[in-house]
């Protein structure tokens, strides 16, 4: 060191063997090993793919072969340079990463496909969002496909139907689910009745959604024929938004019960005892201490259960039917939900001879549905944060 340096900074105590190679890091593979292995794997994989593919070059095959070669190459390289323990460690780490990436592929693929197919349509004709299919005929779609006329129709009725049916289903399910889980946690105390409820709730989580739809249809029909009448006019009433909401609540209630039950169970017993010790009655303790403490978890559980039933198709098709006009009244007349709209547009295009405009509308509707579900998930997170007990003021 020079003298000028010494005045600028306090002299470092000299470490014995400062420049010498650290014996603790000896025998390790250099930091650029993985880059070398990756480059090698890519090159070799490109060669194999070109050989196997003959004339055409498969990008997917290239990446898959490269990934396999990279994992094997890293294992062998580590094994040769270092030791088998580190090699096994690295192998498992790479396999875990590979599994993670594999799981991510379908998710990203679905999002990408829907966005790629739906977004251009939606940007080109945003009117889809506030128009329904009333008055749209096959000739409109033929004109769109052959002469480039603007896309007709829209899915406002689907948005309204999904909104009203889901809202009604939430209004039905949340009180029932919440009170059931309160019974299970606070009153049932593991007796035979609460064990039976838990069993049937678990069974309910597994029932196919079409069964829920048929159940709701049959139940509403029974009620209407018993109390109102069984003429053709009355039987026509069975298909309405409310029936679909009942079908969705059958699917929703078990989810709400299970998630809320978990949340109530993690509320510390000490808080209940603290409240009892102040001379507070049990129901007030539950509603003013237990529920607020668990509120963030309950709210996010409810929102997730809403997101889950928003995408249901079959039970709504059975119970609410499919119409082309916008119907705001869930107690009278058929309603269209967004998933049903997508299904019908793809299976029964408005113009069977010109299916492309229908497919475009379906993709746009699918994108909107995914955005709605994502927004619900986002809201669940925000709600959970907003309601969470304030942790510290320290």
């Amino acid at each position: 060191m020079t003298i000028s340096n010494d005045t600028a900074a306090p002299q470092r105590t000299s470490v014995p063997g400062g420049k010498k190679k650290n014996s603790l890091t000896a025998g390790q593979k250099p930091g650029w090993t993985w880059i070398a292995v990756l480059a090698g794997a890519l090159v070799v994989a490109a060669g194999i793919t070109a050989l196997l593919g003959g004339g055409s070059f498969s990008w997917v095959g290239w990446l898959v072969i490269a990934a396999v070669l990279y994992v094997l190459g890293m294992y062998l390289a580590t094994r040769v340079i270092e030791n088998s323990r580190r090699a096994t460690d690295g192998l498992w780490r790479n396999l875990v990463w590979a599994a993670f990436l594999l799981a991510l592929i379908p998710l990203i693929s679905v999002l990408w496909t829907v966005a790629a197919n739906g977004l251009p349509t939606l940007l080109e004709t945003p009117q889809l969002l506030w128009r329904d299919m009333q008055g749209v005929t096959g000739s409109d779609d033929i004109a769109t496909q052959t002469e480039g006329a603007p896309l007709a129709g829209g899915f406002l009725h689907g948005l309204v139907g999904t909104l009203m049916i889901t809202l009604l289903a939430t209004i039905i399910s949340v009180p029932i689910g919440l009170l059931t889980s309160i019974y299970l946690v606070e009153y049932g105390r593991g007796g035979w009745f609460s064990r039976a409820i838990v069993f049937f709730v678990d069974v309910m989580t597994g029932i196919p959604s079409i069964v829920a739809g048929l159940f709701a249809f049959a139940a509403v029909q029974l009620v209407i024929t018993t109390f109102i009448g069984d003429g053709p006019r009355q039987l026509q009433m069975v298909k309405m938004g409310l029936s679909a909401a009942i079908a969705l609540s059958v699917l929703m209630i078990p989810v709400v019960v299970r998630s809320t039950e978990e949340m109530l169970r993690v509320v510390p017993n000490e808080l209940r005892e603290a409240s009892y010790a102040l001379g507070v009655r049990k129901w007030r303790t539950i509603f003013k201490v237990v529920l607020p403490t668990a509120m963030s978890g309950i709210a996010s559980g409810v929102t997730l259960s809403i997101a889950r039933v928003t995408g249901e198709t079959a039970p709504i098709l059975v119970t609410a039917g499919y119409i082309a006009t916008t119907n705001w009244n869930p107690f009278d007349g058929w309603m269209t939900a967004l998933p049903v709209y997508i299904y019908r547009q793809l299976i029964n295009p408005t113009a069977p001879a010109a299916a492309d405009p229908s497919a475009e509308r379906a993709w746009a509707a699918a994108l909107v549905l995914i955005v709605i579900v994502m927004l619900l998930n986002l809201i669940a997170r925000i709600v959970a944060k907003a309601f969470a007990p304030k942790k510290t003021g320290r």
Partner: protein, 259 residues
């Protein structure tokens, strides 16, 4: 304020298991009584029967008589909620309500019961209770902050303030200092000494020095073995229990020869 407690042949059960057997004890008003004894001897169980918190646990019940100023709290038809408004309780671990501010924690006994009060009355209760718990000066500038943001010792004093806010006659404390450091323990012990001017204080403690420091009278509980019920072995002035106990078991326990 401040009532006397008399237990007459009190047996406490968990289901079919008799946890505490035949307790007879007379606790004077405006005094501090300490329950000491080894773990599992039933002192906490007995303490919880004094405000009927015991029966919150499934299958738990008590037989015998427990008189609060001569009135049996186990009389059929007595509402446990009424008993608990007269007998407050402080628990082993500080448990302020996490969703509430410091101020709301103090007023919890009123707010949770839906009692309406003017802001000035509420402010008066908050200040009086916090002063009573020696916490006012530390938190007066942050009454709207969450109670869980306080230190452990402050949280425990907040819990004491919360229970004295509803003006009970008796305050039960279940090892109130076992989760606290010595400084916070000292603060709580000073507070217990002040509380006995107005309340009957019963405290369960594992710390014999603490019993010797704060209690006027001390009760020693013991069990004959696992699966046997706990019993009240000796109950006398604290100085007698620690210096001149009449029972051999008490002597062994307080002198450290036990176990």
């Amino acid at each position: 304020m401040s009532k006397r407690i008399d237990a007459v042949d009190l047996n406490v059960y968990y289901g079919n298991f008799r946890a505490v057997e035949g307790v007879n004890i007379n606790i004077e008003p405006r005094s501090v009584t300490a329950f000491i004894g080894p773990s599992g001897c039933g002192k906490t169980t007995f303490l919880r029967t004094i405000n009927r918190m015991h029966e919150v646990l499934p299958g738990a019940r008590a037989e015998g008589r427990l008189l609060l100023d001569g009135e049996d709290i186990y009389d059929p038809g007595v509402d446990p909620v009424t008993v608990r408004t007269m007998v407050g309780m402080v628990f082993q671990r500080p448990n302020p309500f996490p969703t509430m501010s410091i101020r709301d924690n103090i007023l919890a006994g009123y707010k949770l019961n839906g009692t309406r009060m003017s802001k000035s009355t509420a402010d008066g209760i908050v200040e009086k209770s916090l002063r009573g718990a020696n916490l006012w000066n530390e938190v007066k500038d942050r009454l709207d902050k969450p109670g869980s943001g306080l230190s452990g010792g402050q949280q425990q004093r907040l819990c004491i303030a919360r229970s004295i806010a509803v003006e009970p006659d008796v305050i039960l404390m279940d090892e109130p200092c076992s989760a606290l450091d010595p400084i916070s323990t000292l603060a709580i012990e000073d507070l217990i000494n002040e509380l006995k001017d107005n309340y009957t204080v019963v405290i369960v403690t594992h710390n014999m020095q603490q019993a010797a420091r704060v209690a006027d009278k001390t009760a020693f509980f013991n069990i004959a073995g696992t699966g046997k019920p706990g019993k009240l072995i000796e109950y006398d002035d604290t100085s007698v229990i620690f210096n001149n106990p009449s029972n051999k078991q008490t002597e062994d326990y307080v002198s450290g020869r036990f176990g």
